[in-house]
C-alpha cells in the first residue's frame, strides 16, 4: 500500500487546468498544420493559419487559447494499492480547479443549477470520472471541454439491425447538423456499445486519444478512416464557411453490449481539443 496525499492531486490539477488551456498539444497542432496545407478553400486556409498563430500567441503570452476555458472534465485512474490520505478526494479535486481557474485567469463558466443558472464563480464543481486500476499510481487527465461543441453532441439507441450502416449515418448526420457551431475543424469521438451512459463516456474518452494515432482494431481503424473521409466530403470546412477540412480525426471506442441494444454516442470537440495528463 502506498500513501498519497490528496494535496498532491490538488496541486497537479491546478497546474494542469492552466497548462491545458494555454498550450495546445503537439498532436493537434501538427494536424492543424497538415490541414492548413491541404485546405483548398482560400478563406478556410487563412482561418487555419490564424488558428495556428493563435496557439503560438496563447503559449508565448500565457493566455487561454480560447475564452471558453470549459467545464473541467477530470479522469482519474487510481491504482488499487494507493491509499489516499490528507483529506477528501473530491474536495481536493475541486480545490485544484478553483485555484487553477482563479489564479490562472481562466473564465468561470459553471452555473450552480441548470435551470436557476447562478454562476458558481470558480468553475467548480468539476465533472469527475474515476476508475480503479491495478498498481500503486494515480493517473490524472484534465480535459477542459467547451460548451459550443458539447452542445452539438448526440446519443442514439440504434437497433442492432441498423448495423454499421446505421452507425455511419448517425455519426455523419450529427456532424452535418452541427455545421459551424462546434468550431470546425473538429475531433469526432464515437462511443459504440455498453449501455446508454456507457456509450456517452466512451465517446468522451475517445476524444482523449492522440490525433493521428491508429485504432489497434483493424475493423474500427478502417471505419474511422472511412468516416473521416465522408465527414470531410460534407464540405462544411473550417468554421463552417466551406472547405475540405471539417474534421481532423474520428476516434471510436467500443464496449460489449446487450443482445437488444446498439447505443451510439457522438461527442464533438472543437479544434481547441485540450487534454493534459500526469502520473503521480
Amino acid at each position: 500500500m502506498r500513501n498519497l496525499d490528496v494535496n498532491e492531486i490538488k496541486n497537479a490539477i491546478k497546474t494542469l487546468v492552466v497548462k491545458a488551456n494555454q498550450e495546445l498539444s503537439t498532436d493537434i497542432l501538427n494536424a492543424l498544420k497538415v490541414a492548413a496545407n491541404y485546405e483548398k478553400s482560400e478563406v478556410g486556409k487563412k482561418i487555419l493559419q490564424r488558428v495556428i498563430e493563435n496557439a503560438q500567441i496563447a503559449k508565448d503570452e500565457e493566455l487561454p487559447i480560447c475564452q471558453d476555458t470549459g467545464t473541467a472534465v477530470i479522469f482519474l485512474e487510481i491504482g488499487q494499492d494507493v491509499h489516499l490520505v490528507g483529506g477528501n478526494l473530491h474536495e481536493a479535486i475541486n480545490q485544484g480547479v478553483r485555484e487553477g481557474y482563479t489564479e490562472g485567469y481562466l473564465r468561470k463558466s459553471i452555473v450552480k443549477d441548470p435551470l436557476n443558472r447562478i454562476n458558481t464563480g470558480d468553475n467548480t464543481p468539476a465533472v469527475v470520472h474515476i476508475d480503479i486500476v491495478p498498481g500503486d499510481r494515480v493517473k490524472i487527465t484534465v480535459a477542459p471541454k467547451g460548451g459550443g461543441s458539447e452542445n452539438m453532441s448526440q446519443l442514439k439507441m440504434l437497433k442492432p439491425a441498423d448495423g454499421v450502416e446505421g452507425v455511419k449515418q448517425f455519426v455523419i448526420d450529427t456532424v452535418r447538423q452541427a455545421g459551424s457551431n462546434p468550431c470546425p475543424p473538429i475531433i469526432v469521438g464515437v462511443g459504440i456499445g455498453g449501455t446508454f451512459e456507457k456509450a456517452a463516456l466512451l465517446a468522451k474518452k475517445a476524444l482523449l486519444r492522440e490525433v493521428g494515432s491508429q485504432n489497434p482494431d483493424p475493423f474500427y481503424n478502417s471505419l474511422e478512416k472511412e468516416l473521416l473521409e465522408k465527414i470531410n466530403n460534407l464540405g462544411i470546412g473550417p468554421q463552417g464557411l466551406g472547405g475540405r477540412v471539417t474534421a481532423l480525426a474520428v476516434h471510436i471506442e467500443t464496449y460489449p453490449t446487450h443482445i437488444a441494444s446498439l447505443p451510439v454516442a457522438v461527442n464533438l470537440n472543437c479544434h481547441v481539443a485540450r487534454h493534459e495528463t500526469v502520473i503521480l
Partner: protein, 182 residues
C-alpha cells in the same frame, strides 16, 4: 482585406459581400445571452437602453478575466444562434452589425436585409489572437453580469469575415455547397 470603421454607414454596409475579409476599427460593444435578454425587455417596454446602440456593432463574446498587465483576456466569439430570439428587435431598433460565429435564424436573416445590416464571423477558438486587437475595454452596462456585462471595446484591425450581407447572401449556405462531394 477591407478596412472599415464604426459606426457603419449604410453606404459601407451595402458594398460588403459575403466572403469579404474585413479589419474592423473603432468602437464595438459586447453582449451575450443575459445582456440580450435585458436589452430586449427594455425595447419591448418602450424604455431607453443603457447604451446607445444605433448604428453600432455588437460582438458576442464572454472574455476570460484580464491579467493585470492586459486590456482584456482571451476574447473570441461565442455561438450567435443563442441570441436569435432577441436580434430582430435590436436590428429594428437600429443596431447595424453583429460579430459572432455560426448560423442565424430565418427571422434574423430577414431582419438583416430589412434593416440593411450585416453579420460578421470572427474565428472561434482564436481568442488569444483576437484579444491583441482590442486596445481598450470598459464596462458600460450591467456590471452585475460579470463576463456577460456590456463592454465598450476599442479595436484596431479586428479581423472578421462577412457571412451574411445586406442582400441576404449567406456564406454558411453558399460556402459548404462549393466543397460538398456526393
Amino acid at each position: 482585406m477591407i478596412k472599415i470603421t464604426t459606426p457603419l454607414s449604410e453606404e459601407v454596409i451595402e458594398k460588403l459581400q459575403i466572403g469579404d475579409e474585413v479589419l474592423i476599427n473603432g468602437v464595438i460593444f459586447t453582449a451575450r445571452d443575459a445582456a440580450h435578454k435585458r436589452l430586449y425587455e427594455l425595447l419591448e417596454k418602450g424604455e431607453e437602453l443603457p447604451v446607445n446602440l444605433k448604428g453600432q456593432i455588437i460582438y458576442y463574446v464572454g472574455p476570460t478575466p484580464a491579467k493585470p498587465d492586459r486590456v482584456i483576456g482571451s476574447a473570441g466569439p461565442t455561438t450567435s444562434g443563442r441570441m436569435d430570439k432577441y436580434t430582430p428587435r435590436l436590428l429594428d431598433y437600429g443596431l447595424k452589425g453583429m460579430i459572432g460565429k455560426g448560423l442565424r435564424s430565418k427571422e434574423v436573416q430577414e431582419a438583416i436585409v430589412r434593416n440593411k445590416a450585416i453579420y460578421f464571423a470572427a474565428i472561434g477558438g482564436a481568442g488569444a489572437l483576437l484579444s491583441k486587437t482590442i486596445v481598450k475595454s470598459e464596462v458600460v452596462a450591467y456590471p452585475d453580469l460579470g463576463p456577460e456585462a456590456i463592454y465598450r471595446l476599442e479595436v484596431v484591425d479586428f479581423p472578421a469575415i462577412v457571412v451574411i450581407d445586406a442582400r441576404g447572401q449567406n456564406l454558411y449556405e453558399v460556402g459548404p455547397k462549393q466543397f460538398l462531394k456526393e
